[in-house]
């Protein structure tokens, strides 16, 4: 019996040691990862019984891993800010214009030859490129263009993005005119959104007639043709031989969906995949050190913030001293280090860094626990108070929110942190059912107006769009936002956004925290792969490096 005990104990010990051993070698995986690519492939191939006989030299399929699956590939059927359908759709469909490779502030024609604004800025006349063919061989016509734009405008998802666009109409055999409700200079950026992809009217109507789900059987004019969509696993595309811009270097693309970011990072390291979008900040340092992998990080198009509901159930948050105390209690760098593994940029004004209107020299009230406590006491809460904070369940939100929870505890504020399922969170935000939230806002195009209009204008405070999340009803803020929208002089606009940032800081409606990265990780033999803040990755720009 004694022996029996000993043997079990021994088992337990050796099991523990086994795990320690695996863990230990896990840390040194960098050296393992640096073995050359062909070797990796060869190993995988032998274990797979030669199922995949292709080596790197005649590699023609790009495996693009992303951590979520699009729900539909019908243009405009998904949220316009959703980067997952964007990554697949821009390969299959094309828009009138696209972002220039590696320069998101410049647009270049894609399905048009040129365009012209009317004097009053209310009409844009597009000369449509001729001789472009859809994947089924049909020629793209001006009717298809106008139809696609009008169809997009009618989609629920698109209305928020494009409320300034009235409609599109055919002028003649080669021209389509887009009519606006009011002049809006960044309108071209909106037309780049894949929601405004050009589809074949004939094919779409045919799908509707015979009950085919267009969103699962997409067809456009893009560099790649749709091949198959295996639910939950992958979407496969093949090069379009008749593409109007010539041949593409990479012949096949497989988008593969892997929900677990750690597993997906390992797949990239072991050479199972070529591209990975959706890396977790924990894996970034390791991938950066790997010589076989290029980590292409850019600042993302939006920033994370705390919104304090100034018109909500918590009376304390109507007191600007309480809000200012919270503003002084957050240590942004600490939130980035603890919540995002040090990946990110401190953000102090309510505008994403890198877009027009961002205030580089602007600083919010500095981190000062004692001053914050004093303010809180002054406001009538010497013994602290409890506020509820809601945030979506992804670790990008929940981990920084936990650091904030801890920082506020230091000044005596107990944060009742509710990490919520995304749908429930969106519902509560829509219904204004929260005391405070930790959330994110992005810009669809690089201009401050796209963000501050939504955040500060009182028209979004109580009805309609749920974007004025602090529920601000301030004539002063409204005036600044409207002035910024109409002003044409860049210097004057900069000044307006500076004033707005100061106004926000004085009132501490929103507490901007950090800007994260948008990262694409690529095996180093993928040429020209680039980072993009809004995930506009045109695979047609890329190629394989052949040694």
């Amino acid at each position: 019996m004694k022996k029996r005990f000993l043997s079990v104990l021994g088992m337990a010990m050796s099991a523990v040691m086994l795990f320690s051993a695996c863990g230990g070698s896990g840390t040194s995986s960098n050296t393992g990862g640096s073995t050359s690519e062909p070797t990796n492939k060869a190993v995988v191939t032998t274990s797979g019984g030669g199922a995949e006989a292709t080596g790197t030299t005649d590699k023609d399929t790009l495996v693009f891993v992303m951590n979520a699956e699009p729900t539909s590939m019908e243009p405009g059927a998904t949220s316009t800010g959703d980067s997952y359908p964007r990554m697949t759709n821009i390969q299959i469909y094309e828009t009138l214009l696209r972002q220039k490779m590696g320069d998101k502030t410049t647009l270049e024609p894609l399905l048009c030859d040129s365009y012209e604004f009317s004097e009053d800025g209310l009409h844009i006349n597009f000369a449509i490129k001729q001789g472009v063919k859809f994947h089924n061989g049909d020629e793209m016509t001006v009717d298809d263009v106008a139809y696609s734009i009008n169809k997009a405008l009618a989609m629920p998802n698109v209305q928020e993005l494009a409320d300034m666009i009235e409609d599109a109409e055919v002028i003649d055999d080669t021209h389509v005119q887009v009519n606006l409700k009011y002049a809006y200079s960044p309108v071209l950026n909106i037309l780049v959104n894949p929601a405004f992809s050009i589809i074949s009217q004939k094919y779409y109507e045919q799908c509707q007639a015979d009950g085919t789900n267009f969103g699962r059987n997409p067809m456009g004019t893009g560099a790649y043709k749709f091949v198959s969509w295996q639910n939950g696993a992958n979407i496969k595309l093949a090069a379009n031989e008749n593409w109007h811009k010539g041949d593409v270097a990479i012949k096949n693309v497989e988008f593969r969906f892997m929900a677990d970011a750690t597993t997906a990072a390992i797949a990239l390291e072991s050479g199972d995949s070529d591209i990975f979008y959706g890396v977790d900040s924990a894996d970034l340092p390791r991938l950066r050190e790997n010589p076989d992998i290029n980590v292409l990080s850019v600042q993302s198009a939006g920033f994370y913030f705390i919104a304090l509901n100034t018109d909500g159930p918590n009376e304390a948050l109507k007191n600007d001293k309480v809000r200012k105390a919270i503003n002084m209690a957050v240590n942004r760098q600490e939130i980035i280090d603890g919540g995002q593994d040090g990946v990110g940029w401190v953000t102090e004004c309510p505008i994403t860094p890198g877009i027009f209107g961002y205030q580089e020299d602007f600083h919010a009230d500095p981190y000062d626990v004692e001053a914050a406590k004093a303010l809180l006491a002054e406001a009538g809460y010497p013994d602290g108070l409890t506020i509820q904070m809601k945030t979506p369940e992804s670790s990008y939100y929940s981990r920084p929110a936990q650091v904030i929870q801890e920082e506020l505890r230091q000044i005596g504020i107990t944060v009742d942190l509710q990490v919520m399922e995304r749908g429930a969170f969106n519902t509560d935000v829509g219904n204004r059912d929260y005391e405070s939230i930790y959330f994110w806002i992005g810009s669809s195009f690089p201009d401050a107006d796209n963000i501050v209009y939504k955040l500060f204008h009182s028209q979004f405070a109580h009805s309609g769009l749920a974007t004025n999340m602090a529920c601000i009803n301030s004539p002063e803020a409204d005036e600044l936002v409207e002035k910024g929208r109409q002003e044409l002089d860049p210097d004057a606009r900069m000044e307006i956004y500076k004033q707005l940032s100061e106004l926000n800081n004085e009132n501490a409606w929103y507490i901007p925290i950090l800007t994260s990265t948008n990262t694409l990780c690529a095996r180093n033999y993928v040429n020209n792969a680039y980072g993009d803040s809004a995930a506009y990755y045109y695979i047609a720009d890329w190629s394989f490096n052949r040694e």
Partner: protein, 309 residues
């Protein structure tokens, strides 16, 4: 026997009704709006309303459920809110992957479980017996996601023997199947061992021994046959559970199976998809259990006699 089978099949009807009603109630009566989920941040109230109309979400609680049943009776189980695909298209697209995973996990648990269980029973109280008991005990106590991650580190990262993800080739299923089978293998080992020991002590084995039959023949000819009876039931139950129980393993290894589908459906409040996938799994495992019972009756005449009563 036939009567019994028909009775069991008829019992599936209340099960289906019950499951759909339970899930429908949970999903409808709790906070969270599938439409806000699909439309994303900053959807206008009008857009939300428009889509609610499209998806038929404006009906009352009971009206919605009754309409669902009516359509289901005609074979229309609805379309997924998110993908707009008929729900069973989604389920059948995912099912083969789960089936592959579950059946290979079960195969491992049968082969390894029965083999090790016999060895243990034959060598009762030996050091080997104790070591195996220790391992099986620990195997039942290790959370599967932990085990799976450790396997990934060993085999994918360090040894580079197997890919960490994918579902196209047989070798994609090696690690997931091992992970998923761990608990079941341990269960099968324990059951085989104890039922082997019980049989070995029974009178007819004693008789065989007394007659001078050699140990090998006793173990494999006489004892094993009877000892495997309870194991058959366990396998049936396990397979049923596996079909719905590989959720976490599917998550780790990124296998697009039913489990991943169900989690996605829960998260996005995709009610028709959730009801269809859970009902499908439940009905399938009920059928497997029924199949096991029938099989059991054929192997063991005593049970068959019981059914025909």
């Amino acid at each position: 026997m036939h009567k019994y089978v028909i009775k069991r099949l008829l019992m599936l009807i209340p099960v289906i009704l019950g499951i759909t009603f339970i899930l429908y109630s949970i999903m409808t009566l709790t906070p969270g709006d599938p439409v806000r989920m699909i439309l994303g941040d900053g959807a206008t109230d009008e857009a939300v309303e428009q889509m609610r109309e499209e998806l038929g979400l404006n009906k009352g609680f009971f009206e919605g459920y009754v309409d669902y049943l009516k359509d289901a009776a005609h074979g229309d189980f609805g379309k997924s809110y998110r993908t707009r695909e008929p729900v069973f298209n989604e389920v059948f697209a995912r099912f083969p992957n789960t089936l592959k995973l579950a059946s290979s996990a079960i195969a491992i648990s049968i082969i390894l479980g029965v083999l090790v269980g016999i060895i243990q029973a034959v060598h009762q109280y030996s050091i080997l017996d104790n070591i195996i008991s220790g391992i099986t005990l620990i195997c039942t106590s290790i959370p599967d996601f932990w085990f799976g991650l450790i396997l990934i580190i060993i085999f994918c990262v360090n040894l580079k023997l197997l890919p960490a993800s994918g579902s196209d080739h047989w070798y994609n299923y090696v690690l997931p199947a091992i992970t998923a089978s761990m608990g079941y293998t341990a269960g099968t080992i324990r059951l085989t061992r104890s039922s082997m020991l019980e049989v070995i002590r029974s009178d007819y084995i004693r008789t065989a021994r007394a007659k001078g039959t050699d140990e090998r023949t006793i173990t494999y000819r006489h004892a094993l046959k009877n000892a495997l009876l309870p194991v058959v039931t366990l396998i049936g139950i396990n397979l049923g559970w596996q079909l719905g129980g590989t959720i976490i393993v599917e998550q780790i290894f990124a296998i697009p199976g039913i489990g991943t589908l169900m989690i996605g459906a829960v998260r996005s409040k995709d009610i028709p998809l959730l009801m269809a996938s859970v009902t499908f799994v439940a009905v399938l495992s009920s059928l497997i259990n029924l199949g096991t019972d029938i099989l059991y009756a054929y192997i063991d005449p005593r049970i068959k006699a019981e059914y025909s009563k």
